[in-house]
């Protein structure tokens, strides 16, 4: 089962790199924000899988919870800033 989690985590790692293309080269600010939001969502699951691989879930789950909150707040803040600014 640990090997299964490891393979799943490696697959998610590859997907994070694919999203990093959109976050670094994507035209405009908004595409970058969307890419970073997708990366944060995948990182949450990768952290939980790491916790299950190392048998330390009760520690990694708190980090994962904080990561979910931070990802949400970062996206909302960037959206609010762009909306107040009124232009790209």
């Amino acid at each position: 089962m640990s090997n299964f989690f490891l393979c799943l985590g490696m697959g998610l790692f590859v997907l994070v790199f694919l999203c990093l293309y959109r976050a670094s080269f994507g035209p405009g600010v908004l595409n970058r924000i969307a890419g970073i939001c997708a990366i944060g969502t995948k990182t949450l699951v990768v952290l939980l899988l790491m916790g299950f691989i190392y048998n330390r879930v009760e520690m990694f789950i708190d980090i994962s919870m904080v990561y979910a909150l931070l990802n949400f707040i970062a996206t909302i803040t960037a959206a609010k800033y762009l909306e107040r600014k009124g232009e790209l």
């Binding site: 089962m1 595409n31 969307a34 997708a38 879930v57 009760e58 789950i61």
Partner: protein, 105 residues
């Protein structure tokens, strides 16, 4: 392997498939709103399925309850964030893509 592990494996695999579909949509779609359409729904479903699978694997304990809590929070937060950022794009005057227009931002 016991029953919990066997039940949790399909949830995790389907969650990974949704992550893959969301990433392909984020890379391949022609417009910002189309990309947000792919990631906003695909990532929500993928996180939900992955966390449900992991909580079945963990069983009934405080960690399992926390996993369910993260799943519920992501189910509320991810559509809210998607809506906020797409509303910001609309207010900033980003034109949606129509057929035959070619690639835009």
């Amino acid at each position: 392997m016991n029953v919990q592990q066997i039940v949790s494996i399909p949830f995790l695999l389907v969650g990974f498939f949704f992550f893959l579909a969301a990433t392909i949509g984020l890379l391949r779609f022609p417009d910002f709103f189309c990309r947000l359409h792919a990631t906003g729904k695909g990532d929500t479903m993928a996180v939900l399925l992955s966390l449900i699978g992991l909580s079945i694997y963990e069983g009934f304990s405080l960690t399992g309850l926390k996993l369910i809590f993260i799943a519920v929070f992501m189910f509320l937060a991810q559509p809210t964030a998607t809506h906020a950022i797409s509303r910001a794009a609309m207010r900033c005057g980003l034109e949606p893509w129509v057929k035959g227009k070619g690639k835009t931002q």
